[in-house]
Amino acid sequence: MTARKRAHARRSADHAGGRAGHRHELLREMVRIRRFEELCVELYSAGEIRGFVHLCIGEEAVSVGVLGALTQDDAVVTTYREHGHALARGIPAEAVLAEMLGRITGCSRGRGGSMHLFDTGRRFYGGHGIVAGGLPVAAGLALADRLRHDGQLACCLFGDGAFAEGEFHETANLAALWELPLLLVCENNLYAMGTPLAREHAQIDLAARAASYGMVAWAVDGMDVLAVERATRRAAELVREGHGPCFLELRTYRFRAHSMYDPDLYRDKAEVERWKHRDPITALVRRMQTVDGYDDDALALLEKGVADELDRALEKAREGAPEPVEDLLRFVHSPREAP
């Protein structure tokens, strides 16, 4: 990357971070995701949502910072912990809720549930339940972009645990070898289910290891939405220059259990509390209070707006019809035009 371009990247990022309105937008989006998932917990307890549900509470800065820095033409592939990614990508809360309620109006027509959110109109290619399974697919999306020279990129989000799967390494090598426009975003929340980073990896500096594939890679504070956005902008710019993939390690933490099934017995409560002091939402609010004179009334107003949106979304989602059982086999294959 040329010095000029890099400087420009920094400037435009600062500029973006510098705008109070923009900060407010980022805050709104993070709060929206937080409240959305708190609602999911209620619905899960009430039995309206079933199956596996993985919350990203505590990791909202990743969703908002990364997805916000991509264009609508870029492709996104992610994991089962993707409510935040989906909302930040612009999938309506109503469609995501309807999906978790198993309704025909869900973004996957109720067939996928919480782990498998899709919206090809927004180039959001899911929602993958097999750890690291989305990585090769993302490389393929990037390959198509590369062959079409369309200036688009594919962004794949995955966890620190996925980094141990052979598929990550095969994909990293292939993408670097073929110089694919692939943005690899590792959401390092320090645990793979109950296994801490140091018991998953002999070397825990994931960015340094990714760099061994010859791609630009660095680690970022995943609790600082502005830093995440800046880093993603810069990484995306690098990727678009056509020299191959880029890797971001976003250091974050999940405040809740791995899934609704997880008794969360493997973490020291004090550790969780320490991280909660770094809550990405309160951090941004504090910053806005000092630099933008943001006050409690504004925050209350924002919360109210989010609450209203989610109320409406839930209402609409509940109105969605369940897929008729007769359509069970629909979409196993594409509809065939007569030969």
């Binding site: 596996f52 309704r103 549930g113 097999i130 897929e323 059982v325």
Partner: protein
């Protein structure tokens, strides 16, 4: 091994599996348990909860997400004299280790002319029914039952959960154990006085005369429930639990079919090319002239298992479907 536990009546399937592992770990230093989150977390389904504290990190090993590597490592450790129990969290992830299981675990003994035995036990959860959607709801027992060189078990009762592990560990060759996710909370008698299960025999769980319901694992409960319903309107169904999916116990199955002259197979796997096909083929090969009707199969619909409850229910074998199949066979 605390006697209190073994004599306890009414333990869960989960506890029975745990007790079997505890017993094995206590009895033989060569036994170790390895897999994702089997230690600190206690196993994704809580089966190994407490074993880390009791046996320590050398023998209860949390692994990284590297199915191929830790299953292969289990194979190597077994070759070298250990008795590893490798837990693959669920069958859905076992595809990432299938090359190791087929091309190494199942093959090395024969390919080496009898030199390399692999006394490995692999445990994994299988099955659907909890709205976990397409990538977490597979029933691939039939694929594993296709592999020469391994033994495949499907404990469907608390007693089998308790008593299948010891003989599996005593087997000099690889054994794959499928635990249906819907069974972990089921409770029953661990049959404290029961010895190790004979891994060559199926079990008649309910004797009957009118039709043979042949099933295994998570579908046993549905078959038994169907049999009760059938009894109400006078159809006396026999229920056969295969227990060992490879090698299949033809004698017990054919014995039942020769008595009832009708067979309905209940299998949560997809119909085409599933284990149900092999059972149906064997019955018609070995008991053709005893059959009064074509063999019926009640299987999963040929669709990735969907999340929505009504769709998932429609995709899986249910009691109503079993009853309908029995009526076709008997009618």
């Amino acid at each position: 091994m605390t006697p209190a536990r073994t004599v306890a009546k009414g333990v869960t399937y989960r506890e029975a599996l745990r007790e079997a592992m505890r017993e094995a770990l206590a009895a033989d230093d060569r036994v170790l348990l390895m897999g994702e989150d089997v230690g600190r977390y206690g196993g994704a389904f809580g089966v190994s909860l407490g074993l880390l504290d009791e046996f320590g990190p050398d023998r209860i090993r949390d692994t990284p997400l590297s199915e191929s590597a830790f299953v292969g490592a289990g194979i190597g450790a077994a070759i070298s004299g250990m008795r590893p129990i490798v837990e693959i969290m669920t069958v859905n992830f076992s595809l990432l280790a299938l090359d190791q299981i087929l091309n190494n675990a199942a093959t090395l003994l024969h390919m080496s002319g009898g030199q390399v035995a692999v006394p490995l036990v692999i445990r994994m959860t299988t099955g659907a029914g909890r709205q976990l959607a397409a990538q977490h709801s597979h029933s691939l027992e039939g694929w594993y039952a296709h592999i020469p060189g391994i033994r495949v078990l499907a404990p469907a009762t608390v007693a089998d959960a308790r008593h299948m592990l010891a003989p599996a560990l005593a087997d000099p060759d690889p054994v794959v154990i499928f635990e249906h996710g819907s069974l972990y909370n089921a409770s029953g008698s661990p049959d404290p006085d029961g010895g190790p299960v004979d891994l060559a025999t199926a079990a008649v769980r309910r004797p009957g005369t009118a039709v043979s319901l042949v099933t295994y694992g998570g579908s046993l409960g549905k078959a038994l429930e169907a049999a009760e319903r059938l009894a109400e309107d006078g159809t006396d169904a026999e229920v056969v639990d295969l227990r060992t999916l490879r090698p299949l116990d033809d004698d017990t199955v054919m014995g039942s079919v020769r008595r009832t002259h009708r067979a309905v197979i209940v299998d949560e796997g997809w119909r085409t090319g599933g284990l149900s096909a092999e059972i149906a083929a064997r019955i018609t090969e070995q008991a053709f002239y005893d059959l009064d009707a074509p063999v019926e199969r009640v299987c999963a619909a040929e669709v990735p298992v969907p999340y929505a409850r009504q769709l998932e229910e429609a995709a899986l074998p249910q009691v109503a479907g079993i009853l309908a199949a029995v009526r076709r066979a008997v009618g």
